[in-house]
């Protein structure tokens, strides 16, 4: 069950925080209606504005404002918030140490009917290799609600890879406490570790039922902050289970799978398998079709788990 659209949470938190903190500004590039920030313009007409379809300029304006002590949020769809403005993120934001929060919506295959041009298979890879930037991908409404104030309080650039619509709740415990720099262990287990991010966390939760029936005790860890990755959490779990599956809505090159492989390769080589887009471009389709097409369903996670366990 989904409690609220993620973009709704985005707007709610900003509405509250902008009242408390006059430094926060919200800049859009003609996608405010899609990303949920349109309403802010009525409440904060001077601090929520549009720069038109000009993402490079949006990034630069935000960087300039950040040098004056402001905390700008800039938004677009993931490909245009990252690969299109890669150099602006690198030079004007990251190198210049500007406190800008970059929000990309519709990551990976979730762009659905907008198709290949709007599907970022490479955004995490692009941003991850730029120094001095945090990458966070929300899982559900509650996690994102807790993450936003921490992102605002963090003094430095953050890329938020935001699925914008309603998605099943995962973090429902009343005492759930989120930490931007610590991985979330959703279920402990001993046979295999599934590191998952974004919409693939919900897919992993579906896979758990089948795994249980197969007598496989899986550990599920959400790596919501892909950079800097929680190395300790990755190493500790891999040492315990000695078999790893990584599930992400991104090219298996450059994303979370690569990040986990880098840690494991250096610290405790472990058999692993990556679930994600296998170095292909996107295409139009509804999510269930695309998940089948790109082998990103709960079934594919189960198969990967069986494979890594057999190779232990």
């Amino acid at each position: 069950m989904a409690s609220k659209e993620i973009r709704g949470i985005f707007c709610d938190v900003l509405t509250e925080e902008m009242a408390k903190d006059k430094r926060i500004v919200v800049i859009d590039a003609d996608l405010a209606k899609c990303n949920g920030t349109m309403g802010l313009r009525k409440i904060y007409p001077d601090r929520a504005f549009d720069v038109g379809i000009a993402e490079q300029n949006m990034a630069g304006i935000a960087a300039g404002m950040a040098t004056c002590g402001m905390i700008p949020f800039i938004s677009s769809f993931t490909p245009f918030a990252t690969r299109r403005i890669c150099d602006q993120i690198s030079v004007s934001i990251a190198l210049a140490k500007c406190n800008v929060k970059i929000v990309g919506s519709d990551p990976g295959i979730t762009a659905q009917l907008n198709g290949a041009t709007h599907m970022s298979v490479e955004d995490v890879g692009v941003v991850r290799s730029i120094p001095n930037i945090v990458i966070y991908e929300p899982v559900d409404a509650e996690q994102f609600r807790q993450a936003m104030p921490q992102i605002i309080n963090y003094d430095g650039p953050v890329y938020i890879r935001m699925f914008r619509k309603a998605i099943d709740d995962v973090f429902t415990a009343p005492d759930y406490k989120f930490d931007l720099f610590k991985a979330d262990t959703i279920k402990e287990g001993k046979d295999v570790t599934i590191f998952a991010t974004g919409i693939m966390v919900q897919e992993t939760m579906k896979a758990l039922k089948t795994l249980e029936e197969l007598g496989i005790d899986a550990e599920v860890i959400n790596i919501h902050t892909i950079k800097p990755i929680d190395r300790e959490a990755v190493i500790a779990s891999a040492k315990k289970t000695r078999a790893v599956v990584v599930a992400e809505n991104h090219n298996i090159i450059g994303g979370l799978g690569s990040a986990v492989a880098e840690v494991l390769g250096e610290e405790c080589p472990t058999i692993m398998k990556r679930i994600g887009i296998k170095d292909r471009f996107g295409q139009v389709g509804k999510l269930p079709f695309l998940q089948e097409e790109y082998e990103m369903t709960d079934k594919h996670i189960v198969e990967a788990v069986k494979e890594v366990i057999s190779k232990k």
Binding site: V25, D46, R47, F49, V51, G52, A54, Q56, N57, A59, G60, I61, A62, A63, G64, M65, A66, T67, C68, G69, M70, P72, D87, Q88, V91, S92, L95, A96, K97
Partner: protein, 270 residues
């Protein structure tokens, strides 16, 4: 500060810029010398800045979007007292605070990192917008190159400066008509820049970029204009002040200096 004194400051900026580059033996001499007069006016007459407190909150700001003019900006900053004159000798030396292209995290007084062309003017727009929101009266100055204006982002930034009614933003275009591969006319024309910026909605002046009084007058004019950003097209000479650098034409973008050339150049700037 009067015209004669500002002329003298511009001369010193040229001298120390050349000393920095020629001591190292190579550097972006042409586009540094072309903006020396403007830097003299900005740092020694117009800008509300404090070299003892480079991060003063409500200060005026300068974004040198053509970041390769770093050496000239460093000479101006040192003369203004941001750091000791001797530090100018560290241009591009390993571990320096004075890199080829301006870096706000390294050099006191540098307001924005620039070097990847087209980006600084957007940051200047952001600073001017921030100053409006904060209502602190700060003015933002920005220097763009003519070759740089072939970058699409420059025009995105211009559209937004007009749309956001940033009358606290004054942009200067160093129209020296040359770039690395040839003249701007040969490579990709930006001819009639004043007309182009007028069409975008700017308040525009076109002046001799080496005329101190004209620079001062353009800034005075800009301060009177409401709801519009100002663009000042500076007709300049690339390499201005050193005859053999001027005569190198498009080859003066970045030049090597041997000991003999260094001596000749500094002699001419004395």
């Amino acid at each position: 500060m009067g015209t004669a004194e500002l002329r003298n400051i511009a001369k010193q900026i040229r001298y120390y810029t050349t000393d920095e580059i020629a001591t190292l033996g190579v550097g972006h001499i042409g586009g540094s010398l072309s903006i020396a007069d403007l830097l003299a006016v900005l740092y020694f007459k117009e800008m509300n800045v404090d070299p003892k407190n480079p991060n003063m909150e409500n200060r005026d700001r300068l974004v040198v979007s053509k970041g390769h003019a770093g050496p000239a900006v460093y000479a101006a900053l040192a003369l203004k007292g941001y750091f000791p004159m001797e530090e100018l000798k560290t241009l591009n030396v390993e571990g320096t605070n004075l890199p080829s292209h301006c870096d706000r995290t390294l050099t006191p007084g540098i307001d924005m990192t620039a070097g990847s062309l087209g980006q600084g003017i957007s940051a200047a727009v952001g600073m001017a917008k921030a100053s409006k929101i904060l209502d602190n009266g700060a003015r933002v100055y920005c220097i763009i190159g003519d070759g740089e204006s072939q970058e699409g982002q420059v025009w995105e930034a211009c559209m937004s400066a007009v749309q956001l009614k940033l009358d606290n933003l004054i942009v200067f275009m160093d129209y020296n008509k040359m770039q690395i591969d040839g003249t701007t006319e040969e490579i990709m024309s930006v001819a009639n820049p004043a007309e182009r910026f007028k069409a975008f909605g700017f308040n525009v002046y076109e002046i001799d970029g080496h005329d101190i009084d004209a620079i001062v007058a353009s800034i005075d004019g800009a301060k009177q204009v409401k709801d519009k950003p100002t663009m000042v097209v500076l007709n300049t000479v690339k390499g201005k002040g050193i005859s053999f650098v001027e005569n190198a034409l498009v080859d003066c973008h970045s030049m090597n200096f041997n000991a003999e050339q260094k001596a000749a150049a500094l002699e001419e700037l004395k």
